[in-house]
């Protein structure tokens, strides 16, 4: 999952970036409104953490513009404004959730997870595909009760495919949702990660497989018998 943090406080921005990365998200950051809007329009983010009081362009204006341009990223407003009027205004402008500063990082991560699930119509913290169980909150994958070790990118890619189980997911979509500005987006990075994931799934005798649909993308589902 890929998150955009638009926050003008450098320290908070840095902490959020690090905290979200620790939690396994791909994270991009912006320090002011115009940059944030541009990134949000072009980055294909699953969730945007948006401060309201931003230099350059006010957070509410950014939010309105995103909705006007039909950007469907989930928006979690992060702000020091805590009145009911402020909350209502933020939600009316198209925010999906609202969190007042200061907040607990744990709560922020829970809300981000919830927004990610909502983006893919998943209502629970676990996705079961045949014998494979993806635990979103624990960020763990097990097959027939046996946990398999996955690298961070491998988990993120598998989670994204699991959230879109049965759908064809293009390479571009995977790049957008799994890799941030820090990630090295070489031409075959997605293919290489998919190949490693396949080996690990096959090694664990999983009945779920990642199929390649030539010229279209990848699809995760139970092996057809």
């Amino acid at each position: 999952m890929k998150i955009l943090v638009v926050e003008d406080s450098p320290m908070l921005r840095r902490s959020l970036e690090e905290g979200l990365r620790q939690a396994g998200y791909a994270v991009d950051v912006a320090g002011e409104g115009r940059d944030g809007l541009w990134r949000a329009e072009t980055g294909g983010y699953d969730v945007i953490l948006l401060d309201l009081m931003l230099p350059g362009l006010d957070g509410l204006v950014v939010l309105r513009e995103l909705r006007r341009k039909q950007i469907t990223s989930r928006v979690l407003v992060l702000t020091a404004k805590d009145t009911v009027h402020d909350r209502v205004r933020g939600l009316d402008q198209g925010a999906d959730d609202y969190l007042v500063k200061p907040f607990a990082l744990e709560e922020l991560l829970a809300r981000v997870r919830s927004l990610c699930r909502r983006g893919y119509s998943a209502n629970q913290d676990e996705i079961q595909i045949g014998t494979m169980l993806v635990q979103l909150r624990a960020r763990a994958v097990s097959i027939a009760g046996q946990r398999i070790e996955l690298a961070r990118r491998e988990y993120m890619l598998l989670e994204y495919l699991a959230l879109r189980r049965g759908e064809i997911v293009t390479r571009a979509e995977i790049e957008e949702h799994v890799y941030d500005d820090r990630g090295e987006r070489t031409s075959n990075v997605v293919d290489a990660t998919v190949a490693r994931l396949r080996r690990k799934l096959q090694g664990s005798a999983s009945d779920a497989e990642i199929r390649t649909l030539r010229g279209m993308g990848y699809c995760l589902d139970v092996i057809a018998t």
Binding site: P10, M11, M53, P55, A80, P102
Partner: protein
């Protein structure tokens, strides 16, 4: 505490009752006195008429005339009583109405009739008796005795020896007088009571009407809510006595409203201003705790220190602002060399200006010395300069100008501010106001210009902001007094 209405009503009613009572009593006494005087005068006239009728042509007493005359002198249906004594105390005669009874013999000086209350026979009814004394003279004397007797002063002047001194007492039943007086008492009492009741009713109505504006004002004040102070009180027309009170109260209420609104804005802004550093601190600590590589210590400490410094800056600025606004700043005024002070302040801001390639220009050398507090003046100028350097576009110029006029000198700081509008200028001195809406500027407390203006006022100066059509902002400190030797 008893109401003004009740207090006034009570005192006016007591006053009215006392006045009505005293007036009634005075009137009663005067009328009674007049009635009695008229009654007594009539009785004395009858006594004199009787005395005159007693003296015959030869100077002797003609008692036979008494009976007929007594009937003629009787003024009403009630009987007339009279009795005559010789000078030696023997009874010369009495009216038939007395029968065998006597009237009291009054001791009457010659020429001075007297009137007393008596008990009349036979039942001892109350009556009124008038007594006169008449002197009888020998008819062969040169002077007419009767005339001398009738004219008391003249008689006193004539030195003749009387042959007898008659005492005549005429009495009459006084029931008519008593009845008239009783009617008079009742009438006066009834009149006083009715007057008092009418006065009380009128007073009640008058007080209610007179105090109605005060009541309406009180009601208007009672309905006032903390959120509606600006609405004020007493919007209807008020009497001249209350209008200044209402106007002054409304003026004070408006000031209270402004102070409330300011405090609310200030508190909200302060809470907001502190939320972000607290969020920074908390998130920073939580992220550090989640690190598993053991490398977090130094960076965490640096971040925590930076947040603490920022919060300290906010608190120090707020304390300074509070001190300046409450007037509790110690101000020791002395001679301050303005050029040297500006040069010193400029030097402090050179690094910030260089980072933005901003040129600071100031034409010094005027040698102006002002009477002020150097540290506080430095605070004002430093804030003005910091604001100009921070918010002017890069590669532009900040200009400091000194202008003296009479015994005053102004210091103005100019910088380009293309993002500002005229409406923004009005908000510049509001605490925590930022043009761009950013709420997490770690470099500033957000109260710099607010503090500068409060300190300027504490120094007896004023701080103005003006934006010209070329988007050049001028922050002008006025009212600095030039020091004379």
């Amino acid at each position: 505490m008893i109401s003004i209405h009740a207090r006034l009503a009570l005192s006016l009613l007591i006053g009215s009752a006392v006045l009505t009572g005293a007036g009634g009593m005075w009137l009663d006494a005067r009328v009674r006195e007049t009635f009695e005087a008229q009654h007594d005068a009539a009785l004395i006239s009858r006594a004199w008429a009787l005395a005159n009728a007693l003296q015959g042509d030869d100077g002797k007493i003609e008692l036979e005339a008494l009976h007929g005359l007594g009937a003629a002198l009787q003024a009403s249906q009630r009987p007339l009583y009279f009795q005559v004594w010789h000078g030696d105390g023997s009874i010369a005669g009495r009216s038939p109405t007395l029968g065998a009874a006597n009237l009291p013999r009054l001791t009457v000086p010659v020429g001075s009739p007297c009137v007393v209350d008596v008990a009349l026979p036979p039942e001892g009814r109350s009556g009124r008796a008038a007594g006169v004394q008449m002197e009888l003279f020998d008819e062969h004397d040169e002077t007419e005795g009767t005339e001398a007797t009738l004219d008391a002063p003249a008689a006193a002047a004539v030195a003749r020896t009387p042959i007898d001194r008659l005492t005549i007492v005429v009495a009459e039943d006084s029931r008519d007088l008593e009845a008239a007086m009783s009617t008079l008492h009742t009438s006066i009492f009834a009149f006083a009571t009715i007057s008092f009741v009418i006065s009380a009713l009128y007073l009640g109505w008058s007080l209610k009407r007179g105090l109605a504006p005060l009541t309406r004002l009180a009601e208007s004040a009672r309905k006032l809510e903390p959120g509606s102070l600006l609405r004020g009180i007493g919007h209807e027309e008020l009497p001249r006595e209350l209008a200044p009170v209402r106007d002054r109260l409304n003026e004070l209420l408006a000031r209270v409203h402004t102070a409330f609104a300011y405090e609310q804005r200030f508190t909200a802004a302060l809470a907001h201003e502190l939320r972000t550093p607290v969020a920074e601190l908390r998130t920073c600590a939580e992220v550090a705790l989640r690190r598993d590589d053991g490398t977090s210590d130094r960076r965490l400490h640096e971040d925590v220190l930076a947040v603490a410094m920022r919060m300290q800056g906010v608190i120090q600025s707020l304390l300074a602002l509070r001190r300046a606004e409450s007037g509790s700043v110690d101000i020791e005024v002395g001679r301050v060399e303005l050029d040297a002070l500006i040069e010193d302040v400029l030097a402090q801001h050179v690094p910030a200006a260089e980072r933005k390639n901003v040129e600071c220009v100031c034409s010094l050398g005027s040698g102006t010395i002002v009477r002020s507090n150097e540290e506080l003046l430095r605070t004002v100028l430093s804030n003005l300069l910091a604001n100009a350097i921070e918010y002017c576009p890069p590669d532009t110029r900040v200009r400091i100008a000194i202008a003296a006029a009479g015994d005053r000198v102004d210091v103005a700081v100019h910088n380009l501010a293309p993002a500002l509008t005229a409406a923004d200028v009005a908000n510049m001195f509001e605490p925590f106001w930022r043009k761009d809406g950013g709420g997490s500027d770690a470099r500033h407390s957000g109260v710099g210009l607010t503090l500068a203006r409060s300190v300027a006022r504490a120094l007896g100066c004023e701080l103005f902001a003006e934006l010209d059509p070329r988007s050049e902002l001028e922050l002008r400190l006025t009212g600095l007094r030039i020091a004379r030797d």
